[in-house]
């Protein structure tokens, strides 16, 4: 009795091809930026088909708008694009003022631009921090970038809290002006903060754009060609990274941007790295703009109408108006149809994240599963804006 001899017959290797694997990502997922569901069809590691399913945060804001008065509605829209709340209410009050022919004092326009630019910087910091989590993983080093970005963001939120009373949904914009007036201490704080955050930018760059692993994960990933960008209708940094130099602040200026047109940052590569570079450079542009606005803030009133006794009594003339602002995600517009009553007849929100997400079925297939998260992070969707 010994050890049986090893058989000399060759080992047959059978390889079976699996068909497509349908993988469900979300709506609860650490990297989907909110309640987004992606249905991915995979062949091995390559994505064959990607279908976003949205609507998990549809709160019926457009229907709610038909039941509330014009003066009551500005705070409602701040919950849509919740990373830069003042952009939403800014677009709304611009549309209402256009429809009603209401003049806004110059100081109020500059305060609106100041709040919007600070919110733009805060929103880009959240985007950068969560991009670190997406690309680096919570335990793989991305948390460092996340912590550093949120440290800078806390300064901005403290300033907003000192000015308006809340960190977040600040209710700054009213039809006809703004509600809060930054005093000398607030303005000095704003200038000091701009210098501090500017000093922190090289450190953030070295952790992200200057990091070779980050570059490898974003270069050539999720390329959106110029034709696709125009046909699908992407907007904001996504559009500018594909070579189209369109920025609402420069093309159809509003508020203080009529006098202070910002630099329009573009790239031509159209990949995730280009979108990252556009947004990162925009933080620098916004910091310079914040300094200019704070130093040149004109004197004067901040509200042009008489004190509102009954907010439900304001009526607008019948007609239509469309007004848009440049939110951190792109062109955020409000199309208001009025029938002469105290409430909007129909209000449509032109949501930038809705349009940016639409590019996913065109861009994600052909790439690897690992690149889905990088592409999604570089598009920077906010689900409150997508679903409204």
């Amino acid at each position: 009795m010994g050890v049986p001899a090893v058989s000399a017959a060759p080992i047959e290797v059978v390889e079976r091809e699996f068909g497509e694997l349908a993988l469900n990502m979300g709506p609860q997922h650490p990297s989907t930026h909110g309640v987004l569901r992606l249905v991915l069809h995979l062949s091995g590691e390559t994505v064959v088909k990607a279908m976003p399913v949205i609507g998990y945060l549809h709160r019926g804001v457009e229907k709610l708008s038909e039941h509330l008065a014009y003066d009551q509605l500005a705070p409602v829209y701040e919950r849509d694009d919740y990373l830069s709340p003042t952009s939403n209410s800014n677009a709304y009050v611009l549309a209402v003022e256009k429809l009603g022919g209401i003049e806004v004092p110059r100081r109020a326009q500059w305060v609106r631009a100041l709040a919007c630019e600070w919110q733009r910087i805060a929103s880009h910091l959240v985007w950068l921090g969560t991009l670190g989590l997406d690309l680096g993983g919570a335990l793989g080093g991305g948390t460092t970038l996340y912590m550093y970005c949120f440290r800078e963001r806390e300064k901005i939120l403290d300033w907003l809290e000192a000015l308006t009373g809340t960190r977040f949904h600040t209710n700054v914009n009213m039809v006809g002006g703004v509600r809060y007036d930054p005093d000398a201490a607030s303005r000095a704080e704003s200038t000091a903060m701009a210098s501090e955050i500017e000093a922190a930018l090289p450190e953030l760059w070295s952790m992200s754009g200057g990091n070779p692993i980050f570059q490898e994960r974003t270069r050539g990933v999720g390329v959106i060609s110029k034709d696709l960008a125009l046909g699908v209708g992407v907007t904001g940094p996504t559009l500018r990274a594909s070579g189209v130099a369109y920025d609402v602040r420069a093309a159809s200026p509003y508020d203080a941007y009529r006098e202070l047109p910002p630099k329009v940052v573009t790239r031509t590569a159209g990949d995730a790295e280009a979108r990252f570079q556009v947004r990162f450079e925009e933080i620098g542009v916004s910091l310079a703009l914040v300094r200019t606005i704070t130093e040149g803030l004109p004197a004067g009133p901040i509200f042009s109408r008489k004190p509102i006794k009954n907010p439900k009594a304001t009526k607008l003339p019948a007609g239509e108006a469309y007004a848009a602002v440049e939110s951190p995600r792109g062109e955020l517009g409000f199309h208001i149809v009025s029938d002469g009553g105290p409430k909007p007849y129909r209000l449509k929100i032109n949501a930038p994240s809705f349009k940016n997400l639409q590019v996913i079925p065109h861009v994600v297939p052909g790439g690897l599963l690992a690149d889905v998260v990088a592409t999604l992070g570089s598009l920077d969707p906010v689900m409150g804006d997508v679903d409204r």
Binding site: L228, G231, Y246, E331, G333
Partner: protein
């Protein structure tokens, strides 16, 4: 380039943009896209009037800067209009949203499903005869 001349499509001025007949919608959109450079798709929206639904497509060109609102009017019973999804790729989701919230059907749409409400939801929420506080006792 001046603003495009769309009189051969029967264009009439509207509060914002121009109104044309539903039958020539796709032809007009293709014309402005190819002959006048309006290659960027902005949005599509619907407005419910007493006589029917007004579908508005907004397209833009960048040089020189101009946004064009093209509107068509369809009747209230079984409202239907051609889909612009093969003229502008961006129309796809906007038209799905209009179908979801208003019930307007788009002929030739590549993916005519609801987009914001659950798939089996009965009713079209943004219609004027749909109450905002319709009970949510819907269970999937």
């Amino acid at each position: 380039m001046s603003a495009p001349d769309l009189t051969r499509f029967g264009a009439s001025p509207a509060p914002i943009g121009i109104a044309i007949a539903p039958g020539v919608l796709l032809e007009a959109l293709r014309h402005v896209r190819d002959a006048h450079g309006y290659r960027y798709y902005v949005l599509a929206t619907a407005i419910e009037r007493e006589t029917g639904f007004e579908i508005v497509h907004a397209v833009r060109r960048h040089d020189p800067e101009d946004t064009l609102f093209v509107r068509v009017h369809v009747g209230k019973d079984a409202p239907e209009v051609d889909s612009a999804a093969f003229v502008y790729a961006g129309a796809e989701w906007h038209e799905r949203e209009i179908f979801d919230l208003f019930g307007v059907r788009f002929r030739g749409h590549p993916d005519p499903r609801r987009i914001l409400m659950p798939d089996e939801y009965p009713g079209h929420p943004l219609r004027k005869d749909f109450a905002m506080d319709t009970p949510w006792g819907y269970r999937p």
